[in-house]
Subunit: 306 residues, 4 copies
Amino acid sequence: MNQAQLQQVLEGLVADHRSAHHLGQVADYIPELGKGDPSLAGIAVWSPEGLVSAGDCRIPFTLQSISKIFTLMVVLRDRGEEEVFSRVGSEPTGDPFNSIVKLETAERRPLNPMINAGAIAVCGMLEGKTLEERFARVTDLLEEVLGRPVSIDENVYRSEKETGHRNRALAYFLKDTGVLDGDVEEVVDIYFRQCSILVTCEELARLGLFVANKGVTLDGRRLLPRRIVRLVSTFMVTCGMYNASGEFAINVGIPAKSGVAGGILAVVPERFGIGTFGPALDRKGNSIVGVRMLRDLSRQFELSIF
Amino acid sequence: MNQAQLQQVLEGLVADHRSAHHLGQVADYIPELGKGDPSLAGIAVWSPEGLVSAGDCRIPFTLQSISKIFTLMVVLRDRGEEEVFSRVGSEPTGDPFNSIVKLETAERRPLNPMINAGAIAVCGMLEGKTLEERFARVTDLLEEVLGRPVSIDENVYRSEKETGHRNRALAYFLKDTGVLDGDVEEVVDIYFRQCSILVTCEELARLGLFVANKGVTLDGRRLLPRRIVRLVSTFMVTCGMYNASGEFAINVGIPAKSGVAGGILAVVPERFGIGTFGPALDRKGNSIVGVRMLRDLSRQFELSIF
Amino acid sequence: MNQAQLQQVLEGLVADHRSAHHLGQVADYIPELGKGDPSLAGIAVWSPEGLVSAGDCRIPFTLQSISKIFTLMVVLRDRGEEEVFSRVGSEPTGDPFNSIVKLETAERRPLNPMINAGAIAVCGMLEGKTLEERFARVTDLLEEVLGRPVSIDENVYRSEKETGHRNRALAYFLKDTGVLDGDVEEVVDIYFRQCSILVTCEELARLGLFVANKGVTLDGRRLLPRRIVRLVSTFMVTCGMYNASGEFAINVGIPAKSGVAGGILAVVPERFGIGTFGPALDRKGNSIVGVRMLRDLSRQFELSIF
Amino acid sequence: MNQAQLQQVLEGLVADHRSAHHLGQVADYIPELGKGDPSLAGIAVWSPEGLVSAGDCRIPFTLQSISKIFTLMVVLRDRGEEEVFSRVGSEPTGDPFNSIVKLETAERRPLNPMINAGAIAVCGMLEGKTLEERFARVTDLLEEVLGRPVSIDENVYRSEKETGHRNRALAYFLKDTGVLDGDVEEVVDIYFRQCSILVTCEELARLGLFVANKGVTLDGRRLLPRRIVRLVSTFMVTCGMYNASGEFAINVGIPAKSGVAGGILAVVPERFGIGTFGPALDRKGNSIVGVRMLRDLSRQFELSIF
């Protein structure tokens, strides 16, 4: 299929599913996110042949949980698997993303690095002398892949910082059990910052291609070891879509990570990266329009890795 | 029985049980408490006839969780039952005192005001413009009952403040669910302060008599409505001894509240107050020597209210 | 107060609260219980001076969970405290009566003998060669106290047996963890039978007086050691009213045990026994009318033991 | 690589890892399984080119949980996805395979069809007039793939039936919540039978090839729709290795299902099927030797699907 045909397919997906946003709603537990326009919809595919996109693909929005996969890559590179998995597990969980129960009843380590508790533990392993240095390790990677300076949405960041008490509860729990070293308020600050990084739907696709290529940029630079990116891809399958990951694996079957601002970064290994955007979320926190477009795309082109 | 006979009984209890401290250990999750001398033991009884005591009854130690009952009295008086019980439940729980699980799986309100989460919610309801004013509401009550200025152990207070991350986790969780208003760090600061208030075993007995008399001091002043003190007494029975409250009810059968510094305040309603001291704790956090002395005293004089 | 005055008080209570049944509903998870008439209401008090009652006090209904206290007495007598408490704990719990969670996450023993899991474990300790012999140990005690043969409601029994799958789940779990010996189906059969024993509200009061007198019948025969009955009384306070026991302790303050057929057996220690009847239940499974009548009676005569 | 080279690789894997059985132990919660010889080890690969195997590959052992994937295929075919997923979820879980907690605290449906509760729910959906007819639907499929009559190990079956109380607890819980229709004892009987089906390691590889080929047998007959087998493959990735599925996905990265008798059925989609055997299990219930052989094989030939 050539790029023009793909363009038509993507336009069709946006047309077919944009109105499904009525079945969900914009995240409002972070007040600033509640201002998002639920009717936006876009999908972008970036392959070695180039970028094709349809819909609202150049409007910036915040990464939210999608940022978790890049911080995990950085920390796996800097600290090594052994240390990382001594502080955070690798098992999927049927619990909601912000659950604290398993920290008490299971083995005290967060179950995996994709739930909030695990992602906060991962943030706590970023190296650097200051908060800014530590956060820069994440943005440095993103900037190298995207080829532009990265910035955060200050309003969303402040909103998360003001209302993110559940994440603070998780962080203090991890501090108590020894999973987290250092200053709790600083670690959650980094967490709120990474959630507030701005990207567009087209850029999500470019980031996805970097994952599909197992750590190699568009222009052929290897930024990370193959094994680390494969490892993160695996987490995207087993726990990238919150506690709907199992259902997504059955119905779509490709590595993906969603964020509550409405983005989904998806990956067809060794082939291409996909970004979708649609701020209305289902009850488990995933973009309604995004999941539907990915499901149809996967079925049409048999993208499932299973 | 006259006071001299009671004196003999109490001396006997201390002699019989002091060595049981070998079966437990001093709390060490708050580093400063870990310095306590486990071999100390004392018991004091204060009735309308006066005070009788035996053993180490004039050594000051920190109230810890015993403070929870006085803050609850103050808040019930200032806010009324309806508001208090809209933020904290009244059911006992088999969970440990610092558990967070039920906050997520049950109804979000802490189950009762004796577990840490509930006590922190109660601290959040203290009235006053400043932290000092709010804390003074608790110390004012204690000072009126004890007839002396009340102070805190600065080392214990600092130690709790530095290491009390689990309590911060509980507080931020309550902030997230809307149980707690105001500044979290300030509320936990009050909580750490009330835990650090210094009393002696004899004074515990005097505080116990105040509870036994349902809010009337030694010199006959009513400081609180009868109903409020009875209500707090009831909590002492159903959940005053952490998750050993049921066993204590069976074996001792009187309202009591323990603290991890080794004190227990116990009450024989309408008759007398009892204080015990013994820093070595059993696995559920209650003074080993204290529980044994109270059990024998209750059996000998048939004190059980059941 | 003389018996005629008490009669008037009781009549008033029935008149005041009968209509509150509209706020609750008859238990229907056991289909046969769903046929109960929610508008029935009665209260009976049996003291050394005799019986006084008002309302629907001679209509037979099934004991349901009230039977748990008598089986516990029998088993404590036959097996001794040590064995009983090796298989069932003594701590109250904020969980619902039919919860299975704590069996897995806590210490495997049921938390206390008043929740279903604990009561089933208690049934498993009844001695006898056959099912009939074991069940007879419970009915023998009831018959000696009531002075009449005891029978079960065959329809309710069959209904429980047909639909009691949650109780079977609890029993098989206990079999798996070694708490329960013997044949599971036989043990739950005994459990369903004891739940189906028929009594009237007046008889509940007579059974309550037996508890108030710590094991002595109306005509002065001691059937059980004082300590055993006190121990069971204590459980009635800490966990007799399902996961509303804490609230009941605060508002009523006397030992009581409720059943989902609408009965409550209550006790004023050393003074009298009370029975109430009212089939409409609140959301936690206690008789709405019964709890209200007991609350008012307790306030008017200051019956709280706290 | 030709078959002779593969033969050498497999021999090497058995030689390298056979002794690792010392790090685990044979399952003993089913007494009959406790008799297994922990030092056995074998691995077999079946591709379109034919079968290659090394070690103990012709000793029959019981399928145990591996049977779950075939029953699920049958039920998905006979009942359709919609009905199946109305009774059982599709989310992985960090809980142990025999956990009951989530049935109560989550949505009542078992979280997925690979944990025991879910597999029992799946057994309850087998169609047929008698127990034998329903069980035959599973054996029919296996016999068509294996080309031989299938039988069960009667001793293991009886042993499971006598001691499988936890599974009965799960089944009665599901009966209570309405997930399970029909006779509980019959459903668990089918479950125990399917766990007791005998296969060899070579046959596991042949069954694996059937999965790799998405429902087509060695001789080219399609027995099931492609979509159903892919769906089951997906479950093998997200929850096929109990609560070590996440770790297995990271380290091995192929669909696999393990059983507590020591077998693992693994699949390289569209390419080949793998069987491993080694009765000594790790703490999460997976064959120690099997997991190690699969990990090395996957690394050497880059088999990971991620």
